[in-house]
Structures are given as C-alpha cells and as structure tokens.
C-alpha cells in the first residue's frame, strides 16, 4: 500500500497574541508546527502501513522551513518526503495549491490512497483535500472518522455528517480527509528523529512536477484577498457574580429574563 499524506506547516495558534494597538496578530516568535489536524492523517497512514505493509510519503508545499514539518512526520513513522518549494508557488489560493499538490502526487505515482487532514488551522478552508481529488478525478470521502476495511481495490469508510455517520465504499486509489476521531497521533520517537535526519528530502519546483505556470501562485489563483481585519470579539456583556443565596436567585432570574426576552424559550 502506497499512501501519500499532504501536510501543511502552520503557525502555532493556541497562544495567539493580538497587538492591542494595531489589532493584528503578533507573528514574531510564533512557533511553526505541523497543522494539528494533519497529525491524524499521518497517524492513520502509518497505522495502515504497519498493518499491511507499504510506504507512506509525506508532501508539503511551502518555504524551505517546511522541511521541519516533513522531517517531523518522518520521525513519527512516515518513510519519505517531498518538499514543494519555489517562488512561483507563492500566493497560491486553494485552487492553485490543490493543483500543485495533485501534480506532485501524480508524479509520485502508483499510489493507493491520499490522506489529508480535514483542514489547516490557519486557512480554515478544508478545500484542498477535495480539490486534490477533483484534479486527480478520484473518489473522495471527507470528514472520515473510520476506515472500516480495505480489500480488493476497495475501501469502506465511515464519515461524520450532520446528525450521524455515513458509510461509503470507494474504489482505490481514493482521497480521504480525516477528522480527529480517526486516530490518536503518536509522538516522534528518538529513533525516528535520528532516521529522519538521514532521509534525503527532494525539493520539487514547477518544472519537476510538470505544472503549467499559468495555474500556480498568485497568477493561477482565481481568488484575491481584498482586506484582512480583526473582528470585534468582545461583547458588551453583563456579568453577575453569585456568592450567596440571594445573588444566586438573582442570577438565575436574569438568565430566565434573558431567555424570554430573546425568545429562546
């Protein structure tokens, strides 16, 4: 089984700090990590390999620094990696990113599965996984929470949808995007880290993957960012502190009043 896992390096956003003066995100000193939702894809790919043999190849489009993310994935147990890095890739939106990744996957060739995280925690779109499937004309299961079985060129999966789960059967090769429920990511081991150091990661540009330069980077992107601004998250909320019977009664009455006034009850 040959599995390709596209990953993204993202800023660690759990401790995002906002500049109180400009209202923008402070990026200095923010660590770069593997997109947390990609870890579930990496883990599931490694588990499939451990069960039935094969190879897991992790790919990432980004600056040279994204090598760190690829190395970390290898330290977790992936076998090989490819970095897609070139100035001409810069400014790619989800359409152009899917295009680049699909071309790279095609070049890797002869794969059975592409497993992606549900979305990246910075862009938050979840469009690149389905985009890859579309470029490669492959069947797709998004929000996949379980791989039920794989045999005879087919995979049965369960996907998380509104109000429950759906089960699908896809012909291989196929593309999956996965949710957290599918696996519990392992940590890189010391042995893995040592191995990762020795693995050569090729760096591919547009020519290596045979992608038309009209279709990549800002030039190949149908969307444009008009502006970025900081939402006003603070609400003019009312606060009540409960410290005795009387204030308890008052607080709960206030909730009731709130529910009734807003016609929520």
């Amino acid at each position: 089984m040959k599995i390709v896992v596209p990953i993204k390096q993202v800023p660690e956003t759990s401790n995002v700090k906002m500049d109180p003066k400009t209202g923008t995100m402070v990026r200095e000193g923010v660590e770069s990590i593997i997109n947390p939702l990609d870890l579930y894809a990496i883990e599931e790919a490694i588990r499939l390999k451990e069960k039935s043999g094969g190879q897991v190849i992790v790919i990432s489009m980004g600056p040279e620094k994204a090598l760190e993310a690829i190395k970390e994935a290898i330290a977790m147990g992936c076998d090989d990696g490819v970095l897609l890095s070139d100035k001409k890739f810069a400014g790619s939106d989800t359409w152009a990113t899917s295009c680049v990744l699909a071309h790279a996957i095609k070049k890797i060739g002869d794969f059975d599965l592409v497993i992606c995280g549900e979305r990246a925690t910075d862009g938050d779109t979840g469009q690149v996984g389905p985009g890859i499937a579309s470029f490669l004309d492959l069947p797709l299961s998004t929000f996949t929470s379980e791989i039920i079985s794989i045999d005879e060129g087919k995979i049965q999966v369960r996907r998380l949808v509104e109000g429950g789960y759906e089960e699908l059967e896809l012909k291989l090769p196929a593309v999956l995007t996965v949710v957290k429920e599918i696996s519990d990511p392992r940590l890189p081991t010391l042995r893995g880290k040592l191995r990762a150091k020795g693995v050569e990661i090729p760096v591919w540009g547009p020519q290596d993957i045979g992608v038309d330069e009209e279709n990549i980077g800002l030039k190949g992107s149908p969307t444009r960012v008009v502006k970025i601004f900081t939402p006003k998250v603070t609400r003019e909320g009312e606060m009540i502190t409960v410290n005795d019977e009387k204030s308890l009664e008052e607080a709960v009455d206030k909730i009731m009043e709130f529910l009734i006034k807003k016609e929520l009850i």
């Binding site: 359409w95 295009c99 069947p139 509104e162 969307t223 444009r224 939402p231 409960v242 929520l264």
Partner: protein, 334 residues
C-alpha cells in the same frame, strides 16, 4: 448578467432550513445585481411542495435534477451534474451551505470549472463599481476576518456558514419558473458507492441544526455532571456540545466537540458551562448570536465574548435554572 444560484440541501428527505438562509443571502445579492435568483435542487422523487417552498422563499427559478442516482449525496455524480448546469447557464454567483455536503461538493466543482471558491463565509456583499462578490470569512481560528473576491472567473462560488443569517420567509403569492433537467446515465457513473446512514443516538438534535447549544467543559468536574447539561439542552430543545478537554477525557464522544478540531457552530444561543474559553474553543462558536457563560473563574476568557456571564458554582446555578425553566414551561403550557 448571469443569475445568482443557491444549492438547496436535503437532510434525510427533507429540505433543510439552511436552503432558505441561502435564499435570504441570494435575494439581497440578486437585487443589488438586478438579476434573477435561482435554486438548484438535486435529488430523487423531489416533491413539488419543496419546489414551491423555494419559490415562496425567494427563488425566481428552480432547476431540478430528479434522478434515482442522486438519492444520496455522492460527490462525483453531484459534481458532474452541477458542472454541466454551470456550463449551460453561466451563473454569476453560486452559493452553498458550509455543511459537510457543501464543503465537499463545492471545492470539487470549483476546481473543474476553474473558478474561485471561498469557504465558510459569514458576510456577503457586492462591491460597488465592479459588481464583484465580496466574501468575508473568519480565518486563523477566528482571529482575523478576510474579505475575498473572485475578480476574473465565474461563477463566484462560496460556502456560507449555517445560521449566519435568518431563513427567508415564505410569500405564498410568489410565482417562479421550474426547469427540469435530465442527464444521461453516464453522468452518474461513480467510483464511490453510498452504503448507509447511521444515526448518532447521542445527538437528539444535531449540533449544526440546533437553535440552542448547551456545552460543557472541564469545569463540570465530573462526567456525571454532564447529565445537567443534557437535561438543560433537552428542556430548551437544544443540542449538547463539549470542549476538547472533556472529549479527550471521554466524557462525551467526539461528534459533540466544538472548536478548532471539532465542529464550528453558530446557533441563536450558545450556553457555555464550565468552559474557560480557550482560543480553539472560541473559534468554533464565537459567531453565535447570543452567548451565555457560566464559570467560577471571573477571569475566564469566555466572559469576554458573552452577552451574559454568571460567575459562580455551576452545581448551584444549573439545578436552580433547570427548576425555573421547568416551572416556566409548566406555566406557559396552561
């Protein structure tokens, strides 16, 4: 000028209310562009009453593709049908809900028609002068808002966050045109097969459909205390959510998780109980219309985004609240 299209969505045989939210959005855009508003319905045995409902709620036209092969959502045949319709009619704008269906289908379609798609928009408007669609969406866990446009290609595609606007109200006097389209069998060829739907019995009301969500966090202290959350949600006809910490502890299964690695919701009321408001949680619920927070820590981040914050012991507050809601409902029922 091409039309403004919305994708009508079904949920287990019924038209879902998010379809009317899209019509509300679409109506505003179509008026500004002085063009027609149309809904696209894909399904099997599509009832006339559903088509009439879409017209009553604002659709000037309804495109219907009714075929056994479209009974359940599968991305390949659905995409092929939409791509054929887009090529034939060249709509200006195409909106779908940011549901599991919309977020799967729209990127698949956008790639093949080579146009831009903006995910999970909360604000849509028309740019003066150019007539371009301005699509505003939260990113980086809701820390920023980005406005995006698709200047050179059509349709301009977007998925829209459910509950980010009200459903369009029906007007039974409205009339509209219905266009039935047929497709050859080969359009429906697919490398995937739908097997079954399994209802999640722990979700009496699905989180994405819920008007009210009651969520519990680590502050509950013990998994048994989730019973109070369940009871409160049931009393209010709402759904039950959970923070990442309590899902990781096994107090609630993953489908209930709200936040960056769980679901994004936007109900009319979000009640956060014992949830401190880590940025990852806030990312998944901050566009809720009203937020009520109960927490013993007055400095909890959740209070910053709450309309009403109660600082205190949830073990005292919840039982009394449940009691008062019961009494209120009893009184109202008489």
């Amino acid at each position: 000028m091409g039309e403004v299209w919305t994708l009508a969505e079904f949920s287990h045989g019924k038209l879902s209310s998010v379809s009317y939210e899209l019509l509300n959005r679409g109506k505003n855009l179509a008026e500004k562009l002085n063009t027609a508003l149309a809904s696209v319905v894909l399904g099997y045995n599509v009832k006339r009453e559903y088509i009439d409902e879409l017209i009553a709620r604002g659709a000037d036209k309804v495109y219907v593709v009714d075929d056994k092969n479209l009974e359940n959502f599968l991305v390949e045949p659905y995409a092929k049908v939409l791509i054929a319709l887009i090529k034939e009619y060249n709509p200006e704008i195409f909106l779908a809900a940011a549901t599991t269906t919309g977020r799967t289908l729209m990127p698949y379609v956008a790639v093949k028609v080579r146009t831009g798609l903006t995910a999970d928009c909360t604000v849509l408007d028309i740019e003066e002068g150019t007539g371009n669609l301005l699509q505003t969406r939260p990113a980086i866990g809701g820390n920023i808002l980005a406005t995006i446009k698709t200047p050179n290609t059509r349709p301009q595609m977007a998925t829209v966050r459910p509950h980010s606007t009200k459903p369009a109200l029906p007007d039974r006097n409205r009339t509209g045109e219905v266009i039935y389209k047929k497709f050859d069998e080969d359009v429906f060829l697919s490398k995937s097969k739908y097997l079954r739907f399994i209802k999640d019995e722990s979700q009496q009301v699905s989180l994405q459909d819920a008007k009210i969500i009651v969520s519990g966090g680590r502050g509950l202290g013990r998994p048994e205390n989730f019973k109070m959350i369940d009871e409160l949600a049931e009393l209010l006809g709402g759904a039950v959510g959970a923070s990442r910490e309590v899902v990781d502890r096994g107090w609630k299964p993953y489908p209930h998780q709200i936040g960056l690695s769980g679901k994004t919701v936007s109900p009319a009321l979000y009640i956060a109980v014992g949830i401190s408001g880590a940025i990852q949680h806030i990312a998944g619920m901050q566009t809720s219309e009203n937020i009520l927070a109960i927490n013993k820590d007055p400095d909890a981040q959740i209070f910053k985004i709450a309309n009403l914050g109660i600082v205190g012991d949830l073990n005292e507050i919840l039982p009394l609240l449940i009691e008062k809601i019961k009494a209120y409902k009893k009184k109202e029922a008489v």
